[in-house]
Amino acid sequence: MPKEPDILKIVKEDILRILGETKKEVLLDSIKAEIKVSPSFVSQAIKGLEEENQILVRKNFIRLTKDGQNKAKDIVKKHLVLENYFKRTKNEEEAHKMTDILEHYVSEEVIKNIKKLSTFKQRGVPLTELELYKENLITDILIPNSKLFERMVSMGIHPGEKIRIMYKTPDGFVVNVSRKKIALGKDIAKKIKVLE
């Protein structure tokens, strides 16, 4: 689990997100209830945000400054994209929680990729139809054998990763994925879905 300064950062982002989602003044106590860390962290985070001029605190209510609004917008967007991504495996509420943990570790690049994914998920084409040397994102892997599935995923062939066909061999393809070269048979390649 993250260490203290990270936690503070996470709490700060969470506060901004909550404020960004509701778009109005929020009761301090309700924030403390929603963010499940010790209240002292929340108080510390609020103090920090106030000093950074992201929020205004008035009595028991807080709201975003102009600066804070911009930042909150980004955070909310990131959050939504991640939630979308995790809906593949989770129901909405769980996705929300999972996203809470992960979004703090995500770069803009991944978000861009994931965003593409969530929009295009149903429309992927089999890897076999990808042009030679053209790089594209894996959207899904439809392998019925769960052991083989895990092998592929752990070799870096997983949704959200870029894949590129380097060579067409007699029995399939040699692809470049996660900066490694892997030989894939036609049968398996057909079951990897990529963006068009």
């Binding site: 592929m152 752990s154 061999t169 029995d171 398996i188």
Partner: protein, 630 residues
Amino acid sequence: MKLKILLVGQPNVGKSSLLNALVGPKVIVSNYPGTTVEITKAKNVFDRTKIEFEDTPGIYSISDRSAEEKVTERALFEENPDGAMIIADSVSLERSLYLAFQVLEAEIPVVIALNFVESAEKRGITIDHKKLGKILGVPVIPINPLTKSGINELVGALLKIKKTKEEVFTVRYDDDIEKAIKKISFQVTKTRLPRRFVALRVLEEDADFYKYLKDEEIIEEAKKGLVDHPRVSEDISITRSGTAAFIAEKITRITSVAEKSKSLEERVDRVLLHRVWGPFLTILTFVAIIGALLFLGSWVQDTLMGFTGSFLSAIHIGGGFIGTALEAGLTGLMAGVSIALPYVFLFYILFTLVEDTGLLSRFVVNLERFLRGLNLPGKAIIPLALGLGCTVPGVRATRILASGKERFYTASLFTAVPCSSRIAIIRGIVGYFGGKLLAASVLVSLIVAFLIFGYLMKKVMRMEKKPVLYELPELPPYRIPSIKNIITKSWIRMKTFVYIVMPFLIIGGIFYTALDTLGVTKAVVGLFSPIMWWLGLPAVAIIPWLFGYLQKDLSAAMLFTVLGTEIAVVLSPLQVYTFGVATTIGIPCIIATGMLLKEFGSKRALALTLVSAVYGLLFAGLVWRTISVF
């Protein structure tokens, strides 16, 4: 104090090189993914603490799928290591993190050695290892086994491995899955492994962990709460890899580097992985290796044979049973030293060279289509090729295959893969007395025999067809191999030959003399005369055929004993051919059967030995009879 540390990592991530850096050059380093199927152990003392390192086979994940994974899994979860050193690949960090998460889930103390930092930097990838360490709560140390940088720090972290109190990172699955994990974990018993981990493995359908459950019914019950996860094990994998990707992204900085127009690797691969040139060059290389061997091997053999010949005649031991027996034993040993040793060693050096450069992994991909005819993966070529040196290490090398069925099937093919001793018969008897053309036709017959036997066994064993390239072979970058590594590795492969086969060559020779003195050899001539009738050979030819099984390298000598040295006068070229085919098809010798016994149990070993011998006789007889009709 003593510590037992496992080295865990993907294939080709530099585990063995790191082990070399830690304890000195005693171990195998290879450039073919999946060469270490057994655990290599090595010790060293640091600061009065003895650390025993165990190098495990390279794996991508712990998913109970291949032989490698099973070996590593056992080492991790059943042998109570003090800690695991995970070797991570800076070039493709997220892959390494997947495996790291699985080890962390088992709550095994972990130190991460970050390898290939420089080659990652060349590609514009910089990793904030301190941040990674903070996130994971374990020490992360950048290393370079070649320059030894970071090694001292790594050892320092290992010495403290059991004392770290930091809270380590664990992958969080969604609440439904976590609930199911919790439910199952209450039923976990009789193990020192963490309950959550066992429950997770159970949910991932790893049957090895069912034994820790009080009641297996809990699995079905727990799955009832997973309506949103019809395929929970896949969802677990996805969450793990997603988390790995997120963390890797977070701590990696990528700056685009101007790529060299076409690297050497790409240029070579363009040819070697070409649809037509690839398979062609692969086969050409193998033919070239065998050709070089026959040429070099015969030259070395002739030199050594003259040497050992004069040695044998110089130390004439004297008559009587003991004298003859000793002489036969020595002859066997000398045959081993002069025929098999140079041939086997040369072969293994050439083969290891192909392997360590990274060429072999390309060849394996190209051979997939040929071996698929036998429902085997391309990498089955490795044991089969090693069998061209000696069947015994070949049988052992079948361990790299995934299932027991694939292993035994591959081992059965040694029936028609001639080892050095069998090739010596083809060259020394058929070639010498019947000419090169006749020797070549024996080799062609062996290929035909191989294909027929392979087809029949495939049907009998009901080998199922798997998707093409089911093993997902990875193609490592090309490397200039170190001569030291090649010699070391060839020697390790030779070891079984030297320590198991060589003593048996002596014993076999002595045993044969004993049987001969007791008159047993003569007695079997009449008993087995129908076999020789079937082959159209003189009845006494049974002796080299049958007793060659005790000591293959003595076959030629036995043939001379029973027929005299003027073979060409006594046997027609067709008879020489039939003898050559009949003596080279089949599990070659008692030592090979012994190895089969060790690997597959007595029932299958004996059955295969018998079936393969009968097949060889049938095949040779049928060919002879068909030819003599015309």
